[in-house]
Symmetry: none
Subunit: 218 residues, 4 copies
DNA sequence: TATGAATGAGAGTTCATTCAT
DNA sequence: AATGAATGAACTCTCATTCAT
């Protein structure tokens, strides 16, 4: 992360403009993220973001057409974080596996921390809603895919509505934060995982999977 | 609480101050509710609320010190709506019972519709957070109580963490709205109920309960 | 000043309406006076005045067209307080006489206490300015008259500009309050009187007057 | 304080931020001064001040947290104007000397013209009251000092209360404005000076001073 | 007449965005 | 490109005054 400016002969804006620009842009995005998370979107001013990023107010508008656009960029930049890892159900204790997957995903969401920012915006900003909806659909799809795999292997309840279950899993993870904030207690992923496993797998299968614990997981 | 105004003769300007004032106050609360729901809390101005309620801006401030206080009143006024009915698990198909309970509760929440209003506020307004936290704790307690009943009758999984399950149920219901808005699809309470029942009851118990389907529900 | 309405057959609102009205009007004026003095004119609201007087807001406007008019009434009602007593210079120690006159006048002004209310208003309200200007002119005239008497008896400096001296006396008394408020010290009328006497009377005359102290003072 | 912008070559945007900002700030202070004087403090809005200064409303708030703070700045900026010059009594006609000193001081106060602004504020704004009280104390102290000099040289009445006389002088000058505004007549400083001289100097001393009129004045 | 709820213009203030430097 | 001062629309809230009861 050094500045690359300590050249020999010097010269002026040696570092390609692009790069410096990217740096500023990133700084702004980071600052936006930090401030939106800590104070909320409406409560954060463009000036603050600029100041936090160490640039002038006007510079903000060189990189983003407005505050909203910064938020969009923020979301898009970090979108991949929304994607949970794909589980492979076979070959390990599914509860344990799930618990760690959930925790990992939960932590990424937490870091991103847009929960408290988004709900209010979604209703007035349909483009944003769409961007975010897309992200959630991707998550949903990935969970759904994992379940399908399990289902095709005959591991799940036969009458399982994969859609509903995927959604339930997604919702439970997303809301862990809220639980944590409000109750003070840490989220117990082991328990959540247990509960989810019972939604998905019949007891016999669970038993079987747990016993065929052969190799590594992560 | 009848209107007392439908007099035959008389026509005294009856119940004048109190009642009219209540009407205005209610109109404002309703308008606040409607606008907060459709535009979000931050995006709604006191002026708009007043206009929507058909009163002048200043009138708003006769009844509420500010927008925030109206929101608080709104929540307190409707708090009981947050409380789900208490289920009695025995003596009917638990899935069916649960599905209808969930739907009823969901509809009340929906009507209240504060979901999109609250998240942004909770982090900056600790008093509000507390009010709402209390409400949620009550919901949680009621669900928890229903589960305890079932548990004590030996109906549930023996290793069930009632706390986690209560929370999961609460979260799933609360988030139905979001699902509906984003996916367009109606929430399928039957499926959710099925999933929850599997979290709570071992298959054998479920089977048994379903077969002992004799009489009344509530 | 009886109201002439106390008819024989009379009836309920036994106390003649006029009188009740006068009472309210007076109550409002008193309240206005008290509040203007303690909070300033702009900082006092019509509602407060009404509340303080124990009547409804609307009632205020039955008696006064607006807040300003109440102030005018207030001033006119109490205008005579502005008039200082007329001194008779001969026949007593003039310093002592003056000191007591000044103190008496000062106390009346003090009680009226409009100092802090008026200056700001004078510039925007020419009618009020006129009302008050008139009052001050009367005071000035009375002081001037007292001095003329003295002058005609050959007691004063021969080259005395009575106008200037009258004004100076008026100003010094009026500003005593301010001095008191700001310095904390009580105004020493004896000293002021001494100073004024020197403005007005040559030392020889003063000496003479002081010695011819024959009869009563106050 | 020349503008530095009239460069021959160069044309660097010289002294850009500081100076322009100072200009705006000054413009606002001037406008505040002008408007407070002509309309009174309460009657002047921040918006008006900004408009009068030719800037936008928001700009006002860049330089001053609010109207009150502008007033404070105004007072502090001009505080030295409150200080009257120190007289040296000996060696010239004291009446003449005093008249010109009074007039000079009067004119400065007049220019500052806060008289009509302050009284209403002093009672509710103790910080402001203090700022202004300090200023008045300085004036008082300076007059007092001048008198002490004279007193120590044995020029004054021996029983003179310097404190009271200083205050009287201060008050008379400060109130000249009011007199002028209300009576329409110009203040006659010659007469006031005469009156004050009689408060301070015994006739014999006055006579003597007037005759020893030899050389320089101040 | 008396009441006090209702009104709405307008004051004070903020902040997203523009623009001269 | 970068800066940060300037802009002004829009928001919150107050209060003199009106008006239905």
């Amino acid at each position: 992360m050094p500045d690359h400016e300590d050249k020999l002969v010097g010269e002026f804006p040696f570092v390609p403009k692009q790069e410096r620009a990217q740096q500023k842009r990133n700084a702004l995005i980071q600052s936006g993220n930090a401030l939106f998370n800590s104070k909320g979107y409406e409560q954060t001013t463009a000036k603050e973001i600029a100041a936090h990023a160490g640039v002038a107010t006007g510079t903000f508008y060189r990189y983003f057409s407005d505050k909203r656009q910064l938020l969009m960029s923020l979301i898009e930049d970090k979108l991949e974080n929304y994607l949970p890892p794909e589980p492979s159900w076979v070959s390990s204790d599914p509860e344990f596996l799930l618990a760690s997957l959930l925790e990992a995903h939960y932590n990424r969401l937490n870091e991103l921390g847009l929960h408290r920012v988004l709900p209010e915006l979604l209703s007035k900003d349909s483009e944003l809603a769409e961007v975010l909806g897309t992200a959630r659909k991707k998550i949903h799809a990935r969970i759904h895919y994992g379940l399908t795999q399990a289902s095709e292997k005959g591991l799940t309840w036969t009458d399982l509505d994969l859609d509903t279950v995927s959604w339930a899993i997604m919702v439970l993870v997303e809301n862990g934060q809220e639980k944590e904030r409000q109750s003070g207690k840490k989220v117990d992923f082991r328990e959540i995982a247990k509960v989810i496993c019972r939604m998905v797998f019949p007891p016999a299968v669970l038993e079987h999977l747990r016993n065929s614990e052969n190799d590594t997981t992560e």
